[in-house]
């Protein structure tokens, strides 16, 4: 059974006012348990809105969202339970830190879940390990950390709730290349170890292509594609229509092919591209 299922969701902002805007239009998809799904789309394509619907922060104007087969809005008073099961890391999550110590901040979510102290402690420490927060940093004020550390602490705050589905909205925005790399591999590790479902929103093709099982492409509030990375990026023309591009390395491969070099154009990462080119060179 799919862990998340969206059925014909439509979301209209400011319905009935002069600012009325349809953010999502008839979007349906299913996400399987343990999958790593990337969501890409241009700015304003509705990807951030979409993920806020999945954990019940927004309510769809039309359509239904199912979590483990149950409509999440069946009982609006219990929506908090949905938010514990579908953890959501917002853009620039470091701006939500507020506690005196990093430890307390990470414990905010588990505490709201009403867990026992020793259970909270265990979850906080596990989450810190996953995000690479050092033991001694747990007692610091979150405002003493560096930018990248703050972000990881904030992500730990969501991971500590041990959600069945972890959603990350542009987690690497504003980080330097090394920070990006480190964070993405931490997320990939988390996915590998916990085997939980992860949804990653990004407009960086490179990031998404590398770690996603499947990719959901959004444009102007509509679902354009939902397929494996290979299949999505093989339709480069269609992607370009939505203002998106295939990863740079894939583009290089495509251009090489056009020039008559016999390379595999389904390459998505720089490492694979490197090997592909080295192979061709050694054949000569």
């Amino acid at each position: 059974m799919s862990v998340i299922k969206a059925e014909n969701i439509k979301l209209v902002y400011g319905a009935g006012t002069s600012f009325e805007k349809t953010a999502l239009d008839d979007v349906s998809f299913e996400i399987e348990k343990g999958e790593f799904v990337g969501i890409i789309g241009h700015t304003g394509s509705g990807k951030s809105t979409l993920v806020q619907l999945l954990n019940g922060l927004l309510k769809p104007t039309e359509g239904k969202i199912y979590l483990n087969g149950k409509d999440i809005w069946e009982n609006p008073k219990k929506i908090r339970n949905v938010r514990f099961k579908v953890g959501m890391v917002f853009q620039y999550p470091e701006y939500q830190l507020f506690e005196e110590t990093v430890y307390k901040d990470i414990a905010f979510g588990p505490k709201n879940m009403g867990l026992e102290d020793d259970e909270i402690d265990e979850k906080v420490r596990q989450a810190a390990v996953f995000t690479g927060i050092r033991e001694d940093q747990l007692d610091c004020s979150p405002f003493e950390l560096s930018g990248g550390e703050k972000r990881r602490a904030a992500i730990a705050g969501v991971i500590a709730m041990d959600p069945e589905v972890l959603i990350l909205d542009e987690p690497t925005a504003g980080l330097d290349p090394l920070g990006r790399e480190a964070l993405l591999s931490k997320i990939a590790d988390y996915h590998k170890v916990r085997k939980n479902t992860v949804i990653l929103v990004s407009h960086s093709m490179e990031d998404i292509a590398r770690i996603s099982d499947r990719i959901l492409v959004m444009s102007k509030g509509k679902r354009i594609m939902l397929d494996t990375a290979q299949n999505v990026f093989s339709k480069g023309d269609e992607l370009e229509k939505t203002g998106l591009r295939v990863p740079q390395i894939t583009r290089i491969m495509m251009l090489l092919k056009e020039k008559g070099v016999n390379v595999d154009t389904s390459v998505l990462t720089v490492e694979k591209g490197f090997h592909e080119i080295m192979n061709i060179l050694s054949q000569k």
């Binding site: 938010r83 514990f84 959501m88 701006y95 939500q96 507020f98 709201n112 879940m113 969501v158 709730m161």
Partner: protein
């Protein structure tokens, strides 16, 4: 959603009232407030009320918007109205224990209700038809003479402009932080008053932190562009006292003097 609250209620338009200089509007509003309280009888009150309605009509903004502005102070209007009914002299119409309703009390109440409603609606004319930047600009120019007393007029005006400018930004920020904390299970919709206040802490602290960060960034950005206060500073939009303003000024003087004349000609009822 917080975002949908409209603050700074400016409604762009092209009416004559919109085109008036902000300074004219501010000065005339102050004069208006004085004169609506100078009305001593029904004739003068009627003159002022008709004048107010005319101005409101001239703004070409739906009358409903003005009624909505009244809704905010409806409680005040009703309370002062009711209180005034019981204070006053004249023929006793109804009496119970110490409470008396008199003709004087009824007249008092009518005057107070009309005055407060007109005051609110005409003040709305100013905020509806003048953009916040024009408003602060106008205030700055009007307060300029105070610089003689070492009042930092330009700085005050700049602070007001910045504050107004950042209200929507901070509202949006609040919205974001609230969502982020809700996603971590913060419960802001239920519980008693103490629990609700406590639930605000996770929102307020990040909000303050980001407000200070923004203030720092803005100060740096201003310094980078060599901002150093009001001296010799020119403006993109220069306030301009035109013929229209002169016309508005003259018509107001006519109306306001007619209030004084009717006060003198007819017997005061209040």
């Amino acid at each position: 959603m917080v975002r949908e609250i409209t603050l700074g209620q400016y409604m762009p338009g092209k009416s004559l009232i919109h085109k008036l200089d902000a300074r004219t509007k501010i000065v005339l509003l102050i004069a208006y407030i004085v004169f609506i309280f100078l009305c001593k009888n029904f004739i003068s009150l009627l003159i002022m009320s008709l004048f107010s309605l005319l101005v409101i009509f001239m703004t070409k903004i739906s009358f409903m918007k003005y009624l909505k502005s009244l809704r905010m102070i409806l409680f005040v209007i009703i309370l002062t109205g009711v209180l005034n009914v019981f204070y006053g002299s004249g023929d006793v119409l109804w009496q119970w224990w110490e409470l008396k309703i008199t003709t004087g009390g009824l007249i008092n109440a009518a005057f107070v209700i009309v005055r407060i409603s007109m005051l609110m609606m005409v003040s709305s004319v100013l905020t509806y038809t003048t953009s916040p930047t024009d408003l602060t600009d106008g205030l700055e120019r009007l307060m300029k003479p105070l610089t003689v007393f070492h009042v930092k007029v330009h700085e005050i005006a700049m602070m007001m402009t910045i504050a107004l400018r950042f209200i929507p930004v901070l509202l949006e920020e609040t919205d974001k932080i609230m969502n982020a904390q809700k996603a971590r299970g913060a419960d802001m919709e239920s519980g008693n008053i103490i629990q609700r206040v406590k639930a605000l802490v996770p929102v307020l602290i990040p909000l303050f932190v980001s407000a200070f960060r923004r203030a720092g960034d803005l100060a740096t950005a201003m310094e980078c562009r060599c901002y150093n206060g009001g001296k010799n500073r020119t403006r993109m939009k220069v306030l301009h006292f035109s013929l229209k303003d002169l016309g508005a000024l003259i018509s107001c003087i006519v109306i306001f003097s007619s209030v004084i004349v009717s006060n003198m000609l007819f017997a005061a009822v209040i």
